[in-house]
């Protein structure tokens, strides 16, 4: 009897908790699948939030999240100035959120605790997810009504489909750009010019390693995304890209030569492949001569891990035959997005308009936090203030590639597999065949199920990938 009673109570408790949890989870499902309803529900929530805020005082509090740490102090000081000088009673609260950034925003949005503004670099804020689910709002109306903003930020010439733009709607305007990959080298160990072909580059690395006789090496390779640090950049400039934009499918067949050349680099490399900061420190210590990364290395080798024992030079990435046949990908930086849950979207725009004003942007760019993206700002800043950023100035062949479909891939991504081929863990032909099969099978399955759309750019130009007309197909 006692056992029966206990079992009944236990069963009832379980049913109640599961039912409670079940209803909560149904709500979650609604927010993730039914976009239209979500917005309505969120609007209700925001009205309530607005009432609370208005009741709490005369001022308006705007919360802003960022995942950038390198410019945190500068942005905070700009916000402090804004808070003390603006006449609209707006106070900005600024928070840095770096782990699982996109998921944190999405969770906060669902939980009704989302900030008013979020920042994002490149595709940190995946527009296909954030726009489709109505989390961020289009800024077209705000932009068209603000001529000063248009003059400084040139938004209509920096619309990157799939990054900050979808279906003609502008969801953010980038403040600057991070350059594509460059070669950084130790001028004490390498006195000659950096070769323009990949084979000569490998030979140079081997020569320095031989000269070093175990004391120093030709090149350093990291364990963290090693393929993207040099070989992928070299492939892009050689006209090789994982996605065939014209036919709307993945194609890795061009990577064989790149992988083969990479094997020579491994043979000439520093024996360990450690995390990026460890390898940077070893470069700064003169343990190897060739390193490659984008314009963030300016701040790293100037402040974070200063190079003091030698002069470091900057050169362009080598290509397969020494000519540039494709664009080098660069990453647009610091876009500001307004969340649909914000009860004070107009005030949020005022904050964005201030942070992307000529005054704030000039100082931001001169501090070297990123490169200017607009001709107007490039003409205004004093480049003598930007230090080594001048070595990473945007080249004609640099552009932003439209994001490829975000597929549900089985197994490792192409960067991992191609690096495994470079290291000799897998055969290069098998690796390429495996990637072509897995990527295209996943693409076909996801397009068929409606999870993603196929991106096709009929007038695709490998030297100007962002200039084509993107079409998103359901089949």
């Amino acid at each position: 009897m006692k056992k029966k009673l206990l079992s009944s109570i236990l069963a009832a408790t379980m049913v109640v908790s599961l039912a409670a949890c079940g209803s909560a989870s149904s709500d979650t499902t609604a927010t993730t699948t039914e976009t239209g309803d979500t917005q309505t529900a969120e609007a209700d929530t925001t009205e309530a939030a607005a009432t609370t805020q208005t009741a709490s005082g005369d001022g308006i509090t705007i919360t802003m999240w960022t995942n950038d740490r390198h410019d945190m102090d500068y942005i905070q000081s700009a916000i402090d100035t804004f808070n003390s000088t603006n006449t609209d009673g707006i106070t900005v609260e600024f928070q840095t959120v770096t782990d699982n950034y996109a998921n944190q925003i999405q969770l906060a949005y669902q939980g009704g605790t989302a900030p008013d503004i979020v920042t994002g670099n490149g595709s940190d804020i995946s527009i296909n997810n954030f726009a489709d689910t109505g989390i961020v709002i289009p800024l077209n109306d705000y932009i068209s009504a603000d001529e000063e903003y248009q003059k400084v930020n040139d938004p209509y010439n920096h619309m990157y489909e799939g990054y900050n733009v979808k279906d003609g709607n502008i969801y953010s305007v980038y403040s600057g750009v991070r350059s594509g990959v460059r070669v950084e080298y130790n001028t004490s160990l390498i006195t000659e010019e950096i070769p323009s072909t990949l084979s000569d580059y490998v030979a140079l690395a081997q020569k320095v390693t031989d000269e070093g006789a175990g004391q120093y090496y030709g090149i350093g390779l990291t364990s963290s995304g090693p393929f993207g640090r040099l070989l992928e950049a070299s492939a892009q400039m050689s006209g090789i890209y994982p996605y065939d934009y014209v036919n709307g499918k993945f194609d890795f067949s061009g990577f064989k030569e790149i992988v083969e050349a990479g094997k020579g680099l491994v043979a000439a490399a520093y024996p360990d492949q450690q995390g990026v900061d460890n390898m940077r420190a070893l470069f700064a210590e003169g343990q190897f001569a060739l390193w490659s990364n984008a314009s963030q290395e300016v701040s790293v080798f100037t402040n974070q891990i200063p190079v003091t024992g030698f002069e470091w030079g900057v050169a362009e990435v080598p290509t397969l035959d020494g000519t540039v046949k494709g664009a080098l990908n660069m990453v647009p930086q610091k876009g500001y997005y307004i969340l649909s849950s914000s009860p004070n979207q107009d005030a949020a725009w005022k904050v964005i308009s201030y942070l992307q004003s000529e005054e704030v942007m000039k100082s931001y760019l001169e501090n070297g936090y990123c490169l200017p993206i607009t001709d107007y700002m490039a003409g205004i800043i004093d480049s003598s203030q930007t230090g080594r950023m001048v070595d990473f100035a945007t080249q004609d062949y640099e552009d932003v590639y439209p994001p490829t479909p975000s597929i549900n891939l089985t197994g490792d991504d192409y960067g991992t597999v191609l690096w495994n081929a470079v290291m000799g863990y897998v055969d290069v032909d098998e690796a390429i065949e495996d990637l072509n099969t897995r990527y295209n099978e996943a693409l076909e399955a996801d397009v068929a199920s409606g999870t993603v759309k196929r991106l096709v750019i009929k007038d695709y130009d490998p030297l100007h990938p962002s200039k084509g007309t993107a079409e998103y197909l359901s089949e």
Binding site: K2, N103, P271, S449
Partner: protein, 312 residues
Amino acid sequence: MAGNDGRGKKRIKLRSGGSHEGLASFLMLLPAIIFLIVCSIYPFIWIFRYICYNYNGFTATYTGAANFERMLSDKTFWMSVVHTFEYAFYKLLFIIPLALIIAVILHTRIMGSNVFRGVYFMPTVISSSIAGMIFTFIFATKNGILNSVLQSLHIVSSPIPWLTGTNVVMAAVTILAIWGGFGNYMLYFTSGMDSISNDVYESAKIDGANGVQTFFYVTLPMLSPVLKVVLMLAITGAFKDYEAIMVLSDGGPGNRSMVMFLYIYRMIFGSATSTAAVQIGYGALLSVVAAIIVGIVTAIYLFISRKLDDVV
């Protein structure tokens, strides 16, 4: 008859007291039960919701049995299962005997045994991520401490690429696991040995048993219930380890140290070095499969080890 009546009354009294005790026990257990349901059972059921979906954290699309079909043909996942068994085998092979031997030595109350006990236990309180980072330096091919020691002792002639060699990375991962875990199991064994009565040891001594005989015929049998629990914890722990491996080798090189929970973690939370989107639905399915694998291993162990309880 009177006695019978008395016993009857006593029985009734006990039953009535038992009912109160049962209710009290149930009430005391209730918070724990609720927490178990909310924090453990509910999340597990939550996982089941997504096993038939493509879910990237934003949009969930029903895909039927597609995730299941993918799982069956996912070579990386099944290799990670093989690596998990390999890792668990190596870890258990060394960690349990080592923990037991150290526990027996320290139990003899040699001078400074408490200090040693503290020292051996210390790695357990260090975060496995921090330990992973520290061991990255220890295992470095150039200027790594381990290679320097091995070379100075003339055990190896050239440095071993611990973290970039596919044939040695599992050894590196196992060394870290043993270093980080054996103190914990040592403590379990020490506690178990403390509960063995001194009378038994004295009897053995009087019977003329030497140290080795005492260990095999007294300590080990008396310790068997503890050993059974420790082994079960060690097995389930070894199958679920992934944090230190993630920091030390990130499953590399070439997925050689990829264990199943690290692979699942990558599916659900993504990876800093991967361009692939998070796949919560598929990761959820793999979590269920992994739980079944661990469950089967545990059940087999419990079946095999059922006699360990009967020794005492």
